[in-house]
């Protein structure tokens, strides 16, 4: 790849990547590269102003994505990207703020921030790379690991019930909820485009293969075999009842769009509040501390 760069060979997506950060740290066959690809393709197809997009990530393999995109970006502490992104969005509502992080980061250590940002209808797009385990730390079970799956901390099979992220996002108040896998490249890209065009709390779950770690412990074969498995074991069923799309071993993964609705957005409500306060102040002649 470096040889190509030196030879001056360019790619239409080059401007979306920070060249000095490449090569990336992800394993061969990891689904994170697919997600990054779909995300920057969505940006290109929408022709969005790259100076007005902020990508925030947490800790974990996918957390490094903020370094790879050629945008304003921040790699926060573990679990905190949504809270950080909340500060960014409120400080400048003109910015399109996207959180891209993993299942452990967003739903274990950061679960509280997810449900509350969704409840507030904070104007954020949250994309979760769900690889069913903590890959960066060597493959421990997490909040989305299916029952009975093997990981380094569930050597006898996982005995914890996983979250159904679609259901959780729906129940928390998200206005857009979709789930895709790394084989649904076109649909995922279209879904990201659609979500970028909406306001409010939008959530996309992306099932990403982890062939080197989760796949190995669960004897899922090589990267190509896992991609084939995902294609054969997922089914598109738009607007299925979110409570019925749990991910269980031995059952097909239901993908598609599950929620697409409108409700008042937090940043608009803040703008309304400021207008009201301003009108009230203009009606008053003088403001002092004692009047509070």
């Amino acid at each position: 790849m470096n040889g190509l760069i030196e030879a001056g060979v360019t790619h239409p997506l080059d401007k979306y990547l920070r060249r000095e950060m490449i090569p990336h740290i992800w394993c061969t066959g990891c689904g994170n590269g697919v997600l990054l690809n779909c995300f920057i393709r969505a940006l290109r197809e929408l022709n969005l102003d790259m100076d007005k997009i902020v990508v925030v990530s947490g800790i974990g393999c996918i957390g490094r994505i903020s370094g790879y995109v050629n945008l304003d970006s921040f790699h926060t502490t573990h679990g905190r990207p949504i809270a950080f992104a909340t500060g960014v969005k409120l400080a400048n509502p003109e910015l399109q703020v996207v959180v891209i992080s993993g299942d452990g980061d967003l739903f274990a250590i950061g679960g509280n921030h997810f449900i509350h940002a969704a409840r507030r209808n904070m104007d954020l797009l949250v994309i979760c790379a769900n690889n069913f385990n903590y890959g960066m730390t060597g493959g421990q079970y997490g909040p989305t690991t299916p029952l009975t799956a093997r990981t380094m901390t569930s050597p006898y099979g996982n005995i914890e019930h996983p979250f159904n992220l679609v259901h959780l996002a729906w129940a928390s108040g998200a206005v857009y909820v979709a789930r895709w896998t790394a084989v649904h490249v076109t649909r995922l890209t279209e879904s990201i485009k659609k979500a970028l065009g909406k306001k409010g709390f939008r959530f996309i779950e992306v099932i990403t293969p982890c062939p080197e770690i989760y796949g190995r412990y669960n004897r899922m074969g090589n990267a190509l075999e896992i991609m084939k498995w995902l294609r054969e074991n997922s089914v598109i069923q738009h607007f299925t009842d979110p409570s019925k799309v749990d991910i269980e071993i031995g059952r097909k993964i239901v993908v598609g769009e599950f929620v697409d609705k409108e409700k008042p957005v937090f940043t608009d409500l803040i703008a309304d509040l400021k207008r009201k306060v301003k009108d009230r102040l203009e009606a008053e002649s003088k403001r002092t501390l004692t009047k509070i």
Binding site: V54, G67, F84, G87, L90, E94, H113, K274
Partner: protein, 380 residues
């Protein structure tokens, strides 16, 4: 008329003076979580920030509050949070992130008695060392310690100014007594208030958001300004790129510490009262300064040669000021509302054996009569 600086004389409480100081300093974002005894500060910000085109948000916890103010600061807005001990513990994680990413922000800790839930409605000064060392890793931080309602206003402005100058989180260490105390506050005219604005980079070309040179804290480009900045909590080079080499780690940690250490003389603030001819100097900070000053005045009338060194900045520790006073007196008496935290620093400077200690464990202050009684026993 200006709605950010409410020039005038008021009879108000410390938490509100702190909030007004923040707004006068240009703070336009507050994220917090309710906690006694700092809730009045959040309540006041909720009422006031929309008046000055600012944003108040009540977050789901203090982890999120701290993360949100770092996000707001990177988006070009001066930002603050306020809490007390238990919430301050939760903020330590992202205080470290603010240190590492050189993020200007202000954290107000209205201290109460601990450990754990402790005494929510009572005063304490038990978070002094947590302020210095609470987040993991090697770092330096700035902490200011007001002892009056006026200082809650003045030192909060100073906190924002230092935070912008050195790109470092700054802690205002109040305590319940000062936070809830009602007394006179004078808010000066806007032109009399010195406010440090954020330095912006001039050109995009070779801009490095970070630095390894303590003499040269870099200007800060923010999100949405076209610089495409990237910041990470990982060890990084001047451009922000993660780099795990021992050389980069050494340069970065030294820089993060030295940009404060080497500027200690510019940062520290203290006041001396009647120390020039004193045999004994009281060293204290925060609300105990008030009763200590009464004790000094009363003691002087009784012929005792005692003086007072009030520390308005605790971190970086004002070593030279303490050394100067300790060289002039025979004995030092440290007063604090904990079981010996600044005591350790004073002993480090003045030497063991010359430093007496009178602790209070929370709730009540050292009464002037108690202080004088303690001093009368010191010499024996």
């Amino acid at each position: 008329m200006r709605r950010d600086v409410l020039t005038g004389e008021y009879f108000t409480e410390g938490d509100i003076a702190c909030a007004e100081g923040a707004i006068a300093a240009g703070c336009r974002f507050f994220a917090g979580y309710p906690i006694t005894p700092s809730s009045e500060l959040a309540e006041h910000m909720a009422a006031r920030l929309p008046e000055v085109d600012g944003v108040f948000i009540q977050m789901e916890d203090e982890l999120g509050s701290m993360a949100a103010i770092i996000g707001a600061s990177w988006t070009g807005v001066k930002a603050m949070t306020a809490t007390s001990g238990p919430g301050f513990s939760l903020m330590q994680e992202n205080i470290g992130l603010a240190v590492m990413t050189e993020t200007p922000c202000v954290i107000v800790n209205i201290m109460r008695g601990g450990p754990s839930t402790g005494q929510p409605t009572k005063s304490g000064q038990q978070d002094v060392m947590q302020t210095r060392w609470g987040s993991h890793g090697d770092y330096e931080i700035i902490a200011l310690c007001p002892s009056s309602v006026q200082e809650m206003f003045d030192l909060t402005i100073e906190a924002f100014n230092l935070s912008e100058t050195y790109r470092v989180p700054v802690v205002v260490l109040g305590d319940e007594i000062i936070g809830h105390l009602t007394e006179k506050l004078v808010i000066p005219n806007p032109e009399e208030i010195q406010v440090v604005e954020r330095r912006k980079p001039l050109e995009r070309g070779n801009y490095s958001p970070f630095s390894f040179n303590p003499e040269d804290v870099p200007p800060m480009a923010c999100f949405g300004e076209g610089f495409r900045v990237y910041a990470t909590g990982l060890t990084h080079d001047e451009r922000g790129k993660p780099n795990m080499s021992p050389e980069t780690q050494t340069k970065l940690v030294k820089y993060l510490c030295d940009k404060i250490r080497e500027n200690t003389d510019k940062i520290v603030k203290y006041k001396e009262f009647m120390v020039d001819d004193a045999d004994l100097a009281i060293v204290t900070y925060g609300s105990p300064v008030r009763t200590a000053l009464s004790a000094v005045k009363k003691g002087r009338k009784e012929g005792l040669k005692i003086g007072l060194l009030k520390l308005s900045v605790l971190w970086p520790f004002p070593e030279k000021a303490v050394k100067r006073v300790s060289d002039m007196v025979d004995e030092i008496l440290v007063l604090e509302m904990n079981y010996g935290q600044i005591l350790r620093e004073v002993e480090r400077i003045a030497g063991l054996g010359r430093v007496r200690f009178f602790p209070k464990f929370g709730e009540d202050l050292h009464k002037p009569s108690e202080i004088l009684k303690f001093i009368s026993r010191c010499g024996k």
